[in-house]
Symmetry: C2
Subunit: 294 residues, 2 copies
Amino acid sequence: DTSAKVIDGKLVSKQIRDEITSEISKMKEAIGLVPGLAVVLVGDRKDSATYVRNKKKACEAVGITSYESHLPEDCTEEEVLKCISDYNKDPSVHGILVQLPLPHHMNEEKILNAVKIDKDVDGFHPLNIGRLAMRGREPLFVPCTPKGCIELLHRYSISIKGKRAVVIGRSNIVGMPAALLLQREDATVSIIHSRTENPGEITKEADIIIAAVGQPNMVRGSWIKPGAVIIDVGINAVDDPKSPRGYRLVGDVCYEEACKIASAITPVPGGVGPMTIAMLLSNTLTSAKRSWQN
Amino acid sequence: DTSAKVIDGKLVSKQIRDEITSEISKMKEAIGLVPGLAVVLVGDRKDSATYVRNKKKACEAVGITSYESHLPEDCTEEEVLKCISDYNKDPSVHGILVQLPLPHHMNEEKILNAVKIDKDVDGFHPLNIGRLAMRGREPLFVPCTPKGCIELLHRYSISIKGKRAVVIGRSNIVGMPAALLLQREDATVSIIHSRTENPGEITKEADIIIAAVGQPNMVRGSWIKPGAVIIDVGINAVDDPKSPRGYRLVGDVCYEEACKIASAITPVPGGVGPMTIAMLLSNTLTSAKRSWQN
Ligand SMILES: NC(=O)C1=CN([C@@H]2O[C@H](COP(=O)(O)OP(=O)(O)OC[C@H]3O[C@@H](n4cnc5c(N)ncnc54)[C@H](OP(=O)(O)O)[C@@H]3O)[C@@H](O)[C@H]2O)C=CC1
Ligand SMILES: NC(=O)C1=CN([C@@H]2O[C@H](COP(=O)(O)OP(=O)(O)OC[C@H]3O[C@@H](n4cnc5c(N)ncnc54)[C@H](OP(=O)(O)O)[C@@H]3O)[C@@H](O)[C@H]2O)C=CC1
């Protein structure tokens, strides 16, 4: 008796990547311009290496040239800054990603700020965030995961204007920019975080819920207004002896309960996850086009 | 039968100005440093001239040297930019204010962005707003009116952490930064604007309401939870034949109704109004101290 429509991020991200592929191929033919994305990876975290590999693969699939600098865990901040500075100057590179987390001996803020604002395809530069927060200003890039959430709402024709929206989580990379984006689209936004009392009473008022917490199954059926739309950003590994890997991935929303009450919901995996990379490719294409216009 | 405590912004702002006066006089004696604030006024709007005059007077009263450039309405954007650039370079100027609104033929964004970030005592630069929005980042300056609102809560020992707060209005200069400040202090924040349906249902849940709308008496008694704290930023002129001037100033909150339900409330005038200038003086002093340390 599942009633919610499943918001299929895998399918939508495939559509978007197809759109990007065709736009890049036309651009290449017409003006010979090929977008380039550079990734800076420091250290040997396995998960980071996997993320970087996936990003490179996704780039190649749509026709974006990928560049990579892999620096050792014990390199200096100056070496990372030098690497970024080289990419800043390189006209074939239109986007620069610094894979987080960085080793503890480095100043993350300083390193992220070194990325030239017009190559900041992650959209994490405070100048981009400031413009995102301000009316009448336009950020050069919007952070990929929250942009992917809004894109899903758009592609499923879910209206945002005038709706009550609740964002759970206020991180710099997901929750906070998601709230700013919803507000730009004229939702009435409330933000829940770890200090919020009775979060379920607040989510219960929402027409749209974006959950980006990192707490498996936190949002229960009883937290949801009938007919609400649920975007679940959470990716949490929980033990599962029945799975060959010994664990499985779940979201921040209890899917089994939510899908009976919501009108539409993203699954985990296959919801927001694939949208993040699609938006990164989209930001890189935008940046390449902009470099040509200027 | 008024039960609400009156939050006396006039009194608090006097205390703050006294604190600033004594700090500046000590600083002058100890290291010979005198803070300086430059105001750029373009055109002949009477209200703008009054605001500038009041700011200059307030500076003089606490020992801040004030500088003024008054440019004609029909001057060019380049002339305004040149003027800002001169103040940017002048080491005796620690803060630069561009009085808004600018004439219509000028690009406000471009002109505001020309103010050097470490002299942006208005806190309107997108880099400052971005840092205000981001966890783990610190803005160099916080916009004066919202900073004054929070300062009033602090000076009256009204706790913010974990409280439900509603901000009505989302302008770049008041509502939006007020919401970001409340969130930095761990309130659970909702933002109401002109597209919000049933705003009274949302305000009714709030422990703290900041109203910055520009709609006389919009917030009625029935919108307020018993015991809530009300910060009324609105300054609206309404016709009043009984007043010698033919009008009087009222806030965005219906004071007569609210003061019977709220636990504390700012009056209009004499609430947030005087705090704005006090915060401007405070930001200028901070900037001068910072220039000495660097
Ligand atoms: N689909 C994708 O591509 C991506 C998925 N993710 C996933 O999204 C989730 C969130 O990621 P991220 O934003 O980076 O996480 P962070 O840990 O940076 O932020 C978590 C936020 O949730 C809040 N929070 C934590 N516990 C609670 C609680 N019990 N009740 C209410 N709020 C709480 C925190 O509050 P406070 O601020 O008070 O500490 C914080 O604001 C994770 O599961 C992550 O794996 C992340 C990025 C991309
Ligand atoms: N005490 C002081 O020192 C200062 C006082 N003020 C006063 O504060 C008030 C607000 O100023 P400012 O922020 O500059 O004003 P703006 O006009 O820039 O912004 C007003 C905000 O209120 C929202 N709004 C307008 N009508 C309604 C409505 N009916 N219901 C809900 N929201 C509504 C608007 O929504 P939307 O975004 O959808 O248009 C907008 O976000 C004014 O009275 C002003 O005089 C301002 C600055 C300093």
